[in-house]
């Protein structure tokens, strides 16, 4: 899973969403949102923090080259090794080379979206390296053989009963549908692996340029095990994750956990600056940082589209999105889902592959209202819709000609006032045969896409006639 998709068919998936997914997703996201609301209410400076975070992220993106150079220099100075990966294949290759040099047989992983993005697990397994996800959610979806369906809760689509069944099938243990028992089973399985692993793999929530520090924000102890027990730590991180300094980091950390789970701070916030510096010190002997571009520098050139890269992966836009909550994450076809997935994937994969996603929104704006870094998600969705139907300097058009013809006919009908008025007068009569009382229960294609869900109101225009017959009271334009 999480291989780079060639074509994402949101529409086809949305017609056959597994029945248990919306309920499972809504239960978890509802809990997170409730907690978030309580945290926001405690913080009178919340809006100011959001603005500050947005400014920090945008500033960093606008000077990304300089901050990346600084970061690379600091990581190197701390004894780490920096690798640049232009795309997913290069990043996978780099990880494999490092693994080969160290004769790695077993790897353990911290939950990471960047490694999902590049499909790392698959590549490692093909190279004969055993790789184990150690975040509970990731552990579960690895057993299930799927990608994540939520940014911070990868297995959010599964109920505890389904997870118990999965454990019974894949681990051959008697697993009750009890979260605590299930966690104990996973823990016992994982403990052995931490001690045996030759390589720990992580992503990062942030990279602090001024000191070359990698930050992971986690709630389970697994992250620290992965990044301290094996002798080798390899981190794959998108170039968008850099922040200038610790002061900026503080602002973002205040927002991240509160927006994500509604915690003030996650259980673990780990700061990793290079490998161990002396014998006798704990931690890996080698630290490798692979900085992943994979289309991000191209997105940076788009003044509106680049704002998608401000994302700090809190998942809050998923939690509030009524579309996401009714289809789940798999509908979005790649490692990142929900509103931010709909603005990220089409920019990285192109609108040819992911052109359906910008339309997978009612433009309700709930996402932009909660986004801790103020990404104007609906504006970017509109921007990408334009790319799909009209094309721009970054891609497209990719919409079928029939859609464009339909739009032309539509604007013709509305663009010529006499034609519009004529149509308005004729429509009630023309549609009379379809009418049942105040409703039209069924319309011919393509309008049946409306009436298959609910009836259409009867055409009933009469305002102009009514207005014309009134005694003149108003002024003339």
């Amino acid at each position: 899973m999480s291989q780079t998709p060639v074509s994402i068919n949101f529409g086809a998936y949305s017609e056959h969403v597994p029945a248990n997914i919306p309920a499972a997703v809504q239960q978890a996201t509802g809990r997170f949102l409730g907690n978030r609301q309580a945290r926001v209410a405690e913080m009178p400076q919340w809006e100011a923090l959001r603005q500050a975070a947005s400014d920090i992220r945008l500033h960093t993106l606008m000077h990304l080259d300089a901050y990346l150079e600084k970061l690379a220099a600091q990581v190197t100075a701390a004894g780490g090794q920096v690798h640049w990966a232009a795309d997913a294949a290069a990043a996978r290759q780099t990880v494999l080379e490092i693994a080969r040099q160290h004769n790695v047989r077993q790897a353990v992983k911290v939950k990471s979206m960047a490694t999902e993005e590049i499909g790392l697990n698959h590549a490692l397994q093909e190279a004969g390296i055993e790789v184990l996800e150690t975040d509970l959610g990731e552990f579960i979806i690895q057993l299930a053989g799927t990608g994540p369906s939520h940014i911070i809760v990868p297995a959010v689509h599964l109920t505890k009963e389904e997870i118990a069944e999965l454990f019974r099938q894949k681990l051959g243990v008697d697993a009750p549908a009890d979260p605590i028992k299930l966690t104990e089973i996973a823990r016992a399985t994982l403990r052995q692996k931490f001690l045996a692993a030759d390589m720990g793999i992580s992503g990062a929530n942030f990279l602090v340029a001024e000191t070359g520090t990698l930050i992971t924000v986690t709630n389970e102890g697994n992250g620290r095990m992965c990044t301290t027990l094996p002798d080798l730590h390899v981190a794959v991180v998108g170039i968008d994750k850099v922040v200038p300094d610790w002061e900026s980091l503080t602002v973002l950390l205040k927002l991240l956990a509160r927006s994500a789970t509604g915690q003030k701070l996650s259980t673990y916030t780990s700061f990793i600056t290079g490998p161990r510096r002396a014998e006798g010190e704990f931690g890996p002997k080698e630290f490798h940082l692979i900085l992943l571009d994979n289309g991000r520098s191209r997105v940076l050139q788009d003044p509106l589209g680049r704002q998608a890269l401000k994302c700090i992966r809190c998942g809050c836009c998923l939690n509030v999105c009524p579309v996401y909550k009714n289809v789940g994450g798999f509908a979005y076809g790649w490692f990142i889902s929900g509103p931010v997935g709909s603005i990220f994937s089409p920019q990285i994969l192109g609108v040819g592959a992911a052109g359906q996603l910008p339309f997978a929104s009612s433009l309700c704006g709930a996402c932009a209202e909660v986004c801790p870094v103020k990404i104007p998600i609906p504006d970017i969705l509109l921007h990408l819709r334009r790319r799909v139907v009209e094309g721009d300097a970054f891609g497209g058009p990719s919409a079928p000609a029939t859609i464009r013809l339909g739009a032309w006919l539509g604007t013709l009908a509305f663009g010529v006032p006499w034609l519009y008025r004529l149509g308005t007068r004729l429509l009630p009569g023309l549609t009379a045969i379809l009418r049942r009382g105040e409703w039209i229960p069924a319309l011919p294609p393509p309008a049946n896409r409306w009436t298959k869900v609910r009836p259409f109101p009867a055409f009933a225009a009469r305002f102009r006639q009514w207005w014309g017959k009134r005694p003149l009271r108003g002024g003339k334009p």
Partner: protein, 241 residues
Amino acid sequence: MQAQLFITCLGEQFYPGMLEKMVGILEALGVQLIFPEEQTCCGQPFFNSGFRQRTLPLARRWLQTFSRSQAPIVSPSGSCVDMVRHHYAELFPEGTPEHQMALETAARTFEFSEFLVHQLGVTDVGASFPHKVTYHASCHYLRGLGLRQEAKQLLAAVRGLELIPLVEEETCCGFGGVFSVVYPEVSRAMMEAKVRNIIASGAEAVVACDAGCLMNISGGLQKAASPIRAMHLIEVLAERE
């Protein structure tokens, strides 16, 4: 005071009674109304589908139509006003006369309840509607125009009206314009959730401030064979039961 009526294409096609009542309420408050007959559609359906170029002539015509008078423009639709207010200016390059015209016109275009509460300073129009009513916050009205209290202030002043809170009041009903026909099954799931909450509220009517939401919600209630009425705010404010 004078005002220009921007009736919107959906309002014109499907809610003529609501438009007539809007005229009645505004005139009763002493507003002299102008109806620019060249108006068609503001272009929102095309703009929201990505057809920016196709939107241009519609926006241009709309601006010309409503610039013949300097009077404020009033509309019974949050999303159409949001289109004019927040998207017209970006359609035309800065520094062009059209951009200037868009900014100037946007500044005097108001949603109906916004016009009443903030321009006329009116929250009580003398309505009486002794029924249980719940309220759905239309997305563009709420988040686009930032109108969180206005409709409720007007409802609060209606004699006999009991306003019942709606669970997930601010969650989209699933209309979303083109979204409702591009992904009908997702739209259905969202609509059904909204309708379930409305039915569970125990209200006799649900009020919203946008024709799009009303088409969707009333259709959903009809399909669920519910007797609950989906009403535009204006229709409630015109009641004198």
